[in-house]
Symmetry: C2
C-alpha cells in the first residue's frame, strides 16, 4: 500500500511475502528501536556464519542447517547439498506412489490413513500442518500418537477402526531412541499383529542413519526409511522428511511451503534492523522483556486454522531460549514463556486478566487479511462473521493498548502453504537472532536429559520393587529393607500406589498395610 | 494408605474422593503453611456466606450459586431449589428422548451428531467433557463452533457432511447476546436452509429467560429452551444445562459427575486449612506467587484425556483472578497466569526452559493412578507404556525439584466422571478461596466489555467506510475527509486493507492508491 501517509513509523513490511509487522503498541519509540541497530551487527554476522556452515551449536559441536532444507543451493558442503535434494525427492516420490496407489497395503488396497508416531519436534510440526492447511484431494487422513499414554493410543486406534489395514504408519525419531515413540511403535505393532497384519508392510521410518530405529527398519524391510540429520534440530525439522512426508501424504503444497520459507529466509538475510522482520521481532522481544524473559509472550492468532501455532511457537521459543547459562558459561536463567490459543475465543477466557490483571506479558496478534473459503452471509447489517473476527482483533488490540498492555501485530496477506512456510521461517530466524543478542545457544537442550535419566531411575526402582514382591505380603518398612538403602522411600511409595492401583495388569495387591503380588 | 510412615508432612488426602495433594516440592515448610491458618478463618466464613446466598459478586449485585447446582438441597431459596431440580430433570429427559429416538430430526431419523455453538464458558466446559470422558453407547458425536471464523465453521460443517439433517444444534449463551454465538447460529441456520432444512426443528437453546435468544427460540418453537441463571457465571456453568445437556447427549454419567463435584464440595467445606485440599491449593498459590501472581502456573496432566483441562483452568483461573482493583477499589493488578498441555508430551516442548530457564512459574502435576482401558503390553522388561508415563512424571518432578523449581502434585485415583466432577469442583473452590485471600471479586469480568465496545466502534467505522465508497475511486486523504474528524486514520487503514483483501465478497478494490466499490 504505497501512496499512503506514513503515520506509523513503527509499521514494517516485507514486499516479498507481503507480511507486515506493527510494533507501534509495544511502548517504545522508533528512536529506541533504531538505537539497537549497532547491537544487531554481530547478530547478523553470526547468522551469516551459521548459514555458511559454522559450528553454531557449540555444546553439541554441530552445524545448524535447517535453513538449507528450503534452499539446498546455499548448503556450503556439495555432498550435503545433494543429500538434501535426494532426500526431498525420495519423500515426494514415496508420497506420490502412496497417493497414486502404487505403494499399497498388504491386502493390495490403497492406504487411506496415516498414523504418525512421534513426540515434540517429531509431532508438533506435522500436527500444525494438519490443522493449518486443508487436506488435498485423495489425501491420507492423519492420526497421531504423541505420548506414551496407552489409553490415548487406544482411543486413536478406535478412531482408525476397521481402516487399520489401510493405515500407513510413520515412525519419526531423529535419535531413534525416544522412549515414547518406541512405545507407540510397539503398541501400534501389537494392534496390527492382533489382526494378523505385518507391521513392516505398513511402516515407514524417519530417523538418523545408523540409529536403532534405522537398523530395525532396514532389518525388517519397512516400506521406506527416510533420513534425518544431526544438523537439524527437532524443533526446526519441519522442512525435512519429518514434516514434508506427512505434508505430501496429506496433499499439502510442499513446493509452496518450501518457497514461502525460502522467501522469508531471503528477506531475513537483510542486514539492517528496520528492513528485517525477524530482527524487528527479536528487538521487540528484547525491549519488552529486558532481554531476560521478564514478560510472557501471549500468541493470539485470529484464525481457527492457526490454533496450534501458539503451541508450535511454545516449543520453538521456550526450548531454544530457556537456557541456564550463556555461551561463556555464566548463569543467566534465560527464556521467553509462550502461551495462547486463538482469538476471538481466548477473549472469552483470559483477556480479562490481560486487560486488567498482572502486567506480565506482551501480546502477539496474528492477523490474516484474506478470510479464506468463508461464507458470504451477512450476519449483521453490512458485516459478515469474518468482519466480526477482524473487528474483535482490532477491538481487543485497542482495549489492551488503552491500558498500556504492550502488543504487536503481525499481518499475513492470506493463510496458504506459502504463508505458513514463511510464518514458521520468520519465527525460526527471530529466535536465532534473539539468542545471539542475549548470548545463548538456541540449538541445544541440555536440560531435557535430566528428566529422562530420573525417569530411568524410577523405572529401575519399579523393577526392583516387582522383584521383591514374592512370598508373604510385605509392609512398607519390610519393603524398604528388601530394597536396600539406595532406594528412595517416597518414590517407592508412589510406585507402590501406582502398582496397586493397576492390580489387574500388574498383579500387585495392597491389603492391611501390606503389598503382595499374585 | 494407612499403616504408612508419615514421611511427608506436606502430603494431604481427602478420603471422600481419594484425591491427594503433595505440596512437599513447593519450597515452603509445613510451619510456614500452618502459619496461614488464621488468614483462612475469614476466607472460610466468606465461602460459607456465599453458599448461604450472600451477594458474593458485589459489582454485579449477584449471588454466586454454582455450588447449588450439584447439591440443590443446599440452595437457600426454596423456589430456586425447585428451579434447579426441574431444569436438570428437563435436561436429562430431553437428552433421553433424543438418545432413545423419541425426539427425532425433521425426516424422522434419529439425531446422530450434535453441534454446540458457544464460546468461552459456554464451550470450554463441554469441550473438556467431550475430550476427557469416553462417549457412551449410542451417543451423539460432538462438534463445536467456538469462534466467529467462518472458515472454521465451514470446516466443521464439512466434517458433519451429509449427517447435517441428523445433527442437533445447541445454541448456548447466557446473555443470549454474544456476537460470536449469534454469528455461529446464523451460519448454521444458513447451511441448514441451503439444504432445505428447518433450523427450528433441529435447534435447542440454553440461555437466560427473557434473553434475545430465549425470545427467538420461543417464537420459532425450537425443540427445547433450557435455562441459565444470572447467579451462575459462564466459567462455572458446567453443572447447569450448559454442560449437563451435552454430557447427557454424549452418554456421560451425569449423576456421577454431579456426585463427584458434590463430594469435593463437601470436603472443601471443612474449615481447617490442612483438612481442605482447595484451601491448601489456594495457600500454595499464595506462597508461590506472593499473593500477587508473580509466578505462572504450568499445568501438566499426565493423561491424554486431560489435555484440555489446562485450557479449562486457564479460563477459570485467569478470568476469575485477573483483576485491576480489589474489593475496596484499590489498584492491585491481580492475576495468576495458567498454561500447559499434557505430559509427557510437553517435556519435549518446553521442560528445557522449566528446568533451566527463567524461574517464573510453578508446576501443577496431575497424576492419575489407574491407567484406564490401557493395553497390557510390556514394552520394555517389566514395564508397560503407562509405567513410562508415570515414570516420566516422577522423573520430571525430580528433575525440576533438583533445580529448586517449585511444583505440586495432585493425585487422582482414576479418571472417571466422578473424579472429573471432583477435579473441577476442587479448582472452583480453590479459586474462590484465593480470591477472598487476596481480597478481590472472583465472579465478575469487568475488563471483557472494553474489547467488545471497541470492536463495536470498529464495525461502526467499517459501515461508514462502505457507505463512503461510492462513485469515483478515493485515496486515503479523500477517504479521511469523507469520514470526518472522528474517524481514526489507523483503524481506517486497517479496515481498508481487510476490505480490499476480500474484494470478491466485499466488492472493494484497491488500485493506484485509491479504493473503490464495485
Amino acid at each position: 500500500m504505497s501512496h499512503l501517509p506514513d503515520f506509523a513509523s513503527l509499521r514494517f513490511r516485507d514486499p516479498g511475502t507481503d507480511f507486515s509487522l506493527d510494533l507501534s503498541r509495544m511502548g517504545f519509540t522508533r528512536a529506541r528501536l533504531d538505537g539497537l541497530e549497532a547491537d544487531f551487527a554481530p547478530v547478523f554476522a553470526s547468522m551469516r556464519e551459521l548459514e555458511a556452515g559454522a559450528l553454531a551449536n557449540p555444546s553439541e559441536q554441530r552445524r545448524v542447517g535447517h535453513y538449507w532444507l528450503r534452499a539446498p543451493k546455499l548448503t556450503p558442503d556439495p555432498e550435503l547439498r545433494k543429500e538434501i535434494k535426494v532426500a526431498l525427492d525420495e519423500v515426494l516420490d514415496f508420497a506420490t506412489q502412496v497417493r497414486q496407489g502404487r505403494i499399497v497395503s498388504e491386502s493390495g488396497a490403497p492406504f487411506r490413513r496415516m498414523l504418525l508416531i512421534g513426540i515434540g519436534g517429531s509431532a508438533l510440526g506435522p500436527q500444525l500442518l494438519a490443522s493449518a492447511l486443508p487436506a488435498g484431494k485423495g489425501a491420507l487422513h492423519a492420526h497421531f500418537f504423541d505420548n506414551t499414554d496407552p489409553e490415548g493410543m487406544t482411543d486413536v486406534l478406535n478412531r482408525i477402526g476397521t481402516d487399520l489395514p489401510q493405515t500407513l504408519i510413520l515412525v519419526i525419531s531423529k535419535s531413534g531412541g525416544t522412549k515414547e515413540t518406541r512405545n507407540g511403535m510397539l503398541e501400534a505393532r501389537d494392534a496390527l499383529e492382533a489382526r494378523g497384519l505385518d507391521f513392516a508392510k505398513q511402516a515407514v521410518a524417519v530417523t538418523g542413519v545408523g540409529s536403532a530405529l534405522f537398523d530395525l527398519a532396514q532389518q525388517e524391510h519397512w516400506l521406506a526409511t527416510l533420513p534425518m540429520w544431526d544438523w537439524v534440530g527437532g524443533r526446526t525439522s519441519l522442512f525435512s522428511a519429518v514434516g514434508m512426508l506427512p505434508a505430501a501424504l496429506q496433499g499439502h503444497e510442499v513446493a509452496a511451503l518450501q518457497a514461502g520459507a525460502a522467501a522469508m529466509d531471503r528477506h531475513t538475510r537483510e542486514e539492517r534492523l528496520s528492513g528485517n522482520l525477524a530482527a524487528l521481532l527479536a528487538a521487540a522481544w528484547n525491549l519488552a522483556t529486558d532481554g531476560a524473559g521478564h514478560k510472557d509472550m501471549v500468541v493470539l492468532p485470529y484464525r481457527d486454522r492457526l490454533e496450534l501455532f501458539s503451541r508450535y511457537l511454545q516449543q520453538l521459543v521456550m526450548e531454544s531460549l530457556g537456557k541456564e547459562r550463556d555461551l561463556d558459561g555464566n548463569l543467566v536463567y534465560q527464556g521467553l514463556t509462550v502461551y495462547g490459543n486463538k482469538g476471538s475465543t481466548d477473549q472469552h477466557a483470559y483477556v480479562q486478566q490481560l486487560r486488567e490483571g498482572v502486567p506480565n506479558f506482551f501480546v502477539t496478534f496474528l492477523r490474516v487479511l484474506e478470510d479464506g473459503h468463508a461464507s458470504d452471509l451477512l450476519v449483521e447489517g453490512v458485516h459478515g462473521s469474518a468482519d466480526f473476527l477482524h473487528g474483535f482483533l482490532l477491538g481487543t488490540r485497542a482495549a489492551l493498548s488503552e491500558k498500556g498492555r504492550p502488543n504487536l501485530t503481525l499481518t499475513l496477506p492470506r493463510l496458504e502453504a506459502f504463508e505458513l512456510g514463511a510464518l514458521i521461517a520468520l519465527f525460526e530466524r527471530a529466535v536465532g537472532f534473539y539468542a545471539t543478542l542475549v548470548h545463548i545457544n538456541a540449538y541445544d537442550q541440555p536440560g531435557v536429559e535430566a528428566g529422562k535419566l530420573a525417569a530411568d531411575e524410577v523405572l529401575c526402582l519399579r523393577e526392583q520393587i516387582l522383584g521383591t514382591l514374592y512370598g508373604t505380603p510385605v509392609d512398607f518398612s519390610g519393603m524398604m529393607s528388601r530394597l536396600g538403602k539406595t532406594a528412595d522411600p517416597e518414590t517407592t511409595l508412589l510406585l507402590l500406589e501406582h502398582l496397586a492401583a493397576n492390580g489387574s495388569r500388574t498383579g500387585v495387591e495392597f491389603r492391611d498395610g501390606c503389598w503382595a503380588k499374585r
